[in-house]
């Protein structure tokens, strides 16, 4: 279980053994090669001339391969390691078949001409923590495998343009944000997608765009869809939408096929043109349907995602980031 260091500004031997002699690219660390249980710390900004290919992975015996961004002093405090596609590369990170059990923490990828992160369809059991994929020519994340976990990640300002595009079954988002993408925030075609306390806001404006597109047998719990054409679209069997705020949308919650069995309840619909749209005569089980603005902690009373530092959406967390597994999180959920 080795530890390596990456710093594009390093001028030492390039052995990766410490900050002074750090690798100058993530690709060099990956090519070492890193192995299950290894940790790679990275700081600074790396400007890409080609995408970073990851075809190595951890395992259930020795654990993840971890890539963790650090601040200038080399400490883990939430500062991101920046990967700049420089309007030159196609995809920033390319996860191939063997990229399983990898862990990406405090990393930011941007300005890639296609996808910020392009995981192959077999890239599974990967964890993304405080990872930002923004300003890319296509999507923040494109497809991928199953059982991937995103914690507090952001897919924003992508042109192609999804925050997350079409990851298959059984993936999980917790505390994530998909905003300002040209199309849909979270396009999830596979079954079993679970979203908890995640935000979709200000994505594409046409009737084809949604904040969350949810398919079969999944859960949207405690989330927010704001200023979308459709806040949440349920496209297939048995999807649960609960304790979620759908605000300022043309359609708050839409059921799209006759096979839908939607279970939704304890949600808030506010200032939508239509709160619930049933295009398929599916079976809906609805409870505690509320339309009054109950976002009592939002100081600007606009229900909008205008200031990530205030209480918009009741999702502000009192989070202490320690980076060592001892984070404390106050969920700060309102009514």
């Amino acid at each position: 279980m080795a530890t390596y260091y990456v710093d594009p500004a390093a001028t030492g031997t390039g052995s990766g053994a410490d900050w002074t002699n750090a690798f100058t690219t993530l690709a060099a660390a990956i090519a070492k090669p890193v192995a299950a249980g290894d940790t790679v710390y990275a700081r600074g900004t790396e400007t890409l001339s080609s995408g970073i290919i990851i075809n190595v992975g951890g395992d259930t015996t020795s654990g993840f391969i971890k890539f963790i961004g650090c601040n200038a002093s080399g400490n883990v405090d939430g500062t991101t390691y920046k990967i700049d596609g420089n309007s030159a590369v196609t995809d920033g990170l390319i996860l191939q078949t063997n990229a399983k059990y990898t862990w990406w923490e405090n990393i930011e990828v941007y300005n890639c001409n296609a996808h910020g992160v392009n995981p192959g369809t077999l890239a599974s059991w990967n964890v993304w923590y405080n990872f930002i994929s923004r300003n890319n020519g296509n999507s923040g994340w494109n497809t991928g495998g199953t059982y991937n976990f995103w914690f507090y990640c952001r897919g924003t300002n992508n042109a192609g343009g999804y925050g997350w595009n079409n990851p298959p079954a059984n993936n999980f988002w917790i505390g994530c944000v998909a905003a300002n993408n040209a199309d849909t925030g979270y396009l999830v075609v596979g079954a079993g997608g679970v979203f908890i306390e995640s935000i979709a806001a200000d994505n594409g404006a046409t009737s084809l765009d949604q904040g969350f597109r949810a398919d079969a047998r999944g859960l949207i719990f405690g989330c927010v869809a704001d200023n979308e054409y459709t806040g949440v679209t349920v496209n297939d069997l048995l999807y649960f939408v609960m304790r979620t705020r759908m605000t300022n949308c043309t359609e708050g919650l839409t059921f799209n096929s006759s096979g839908d069995v939607g279970v939704y309840g304890f949600n808030l619909f506010h200032n939508n043109t239509s709160d619930v749209v049933d295009n398929g005569a599916g079976t809906q089980i609805m409870r505690n349907y509320a339309t009054a603005d109950s976002n009592k902690y939002d100081p600007d009373s606009d229900d909008g995602y205008n200031n990530a530092s205030n209480e918009d959406f009741n999702l502000k967390r009192n989070r202490t980031y320690n980076g060592d597994g001892s984070d404390t999180i106050g969920l700060g959920i309102g009514t």
């Binding site: 300003n135 890319n136 924003t156 042109a159 300002n180 199309d183 594409g204 046409t206 084809l208 990530a308």
Partner: protein
């Protein structure tokens, strides 16, 4: 001077619906998305003295005097064989053997006509 942060001006939002704001010289756009489906969308030169910081400017031609910082600036021709959903959003459908083809596999089955399998990529222009 105004600073516009985290706004989505992509596609129809400005291309069809018009600008929801009236930028003035010295204004700054931060973390905004101006991206368009097809290359060559021009932001009027009458919008002078603007700064685009960490913005998505795919298929956008900013005013000549604009200051561009840490932004994605590229013109991309998109292929509807890869993204058929974009046809409904206004992109002209590509032919099967279109300009975005990067590889072709020819498969001959018995005495029938060959089958061509095309590989596509969006094209930087």
């Amino acid at each position: 001077m105004a600073i516009f942060k985290r706004k989505n001006f992509s596609r129809d939002i400005i291309a069809a619906l018009g600008w929801p704001i009236d930028p003035k010289p010295g204004d700054v756009f931060e973390d905004c998305n101006f991206s368009q489906l097809t290359p060559g969308f021009k932001i009027p030169d009458t919008f002078t003295g603007l700064t685009f910081r960490r913005c998505n400017l795919v298929n956008v031609l900013p005013p000549g005097d604009a200051i561009i910082q840490e932004s994605l600036v590229v013109q991309i021709s998109r292929c509807t064989n890869l993204r058929p959903d974009l046809i409904d959003k206004g992109l002209t459908p590509c032919e099967e053997n279109c300009e975005h083809v990067v590889d072709v596999d020819e498969i001959q089955v018995d005495d029938g006509d060959p089958i061509f399998i095309y590989q596509y990529e969006d094209k930087r222009v």
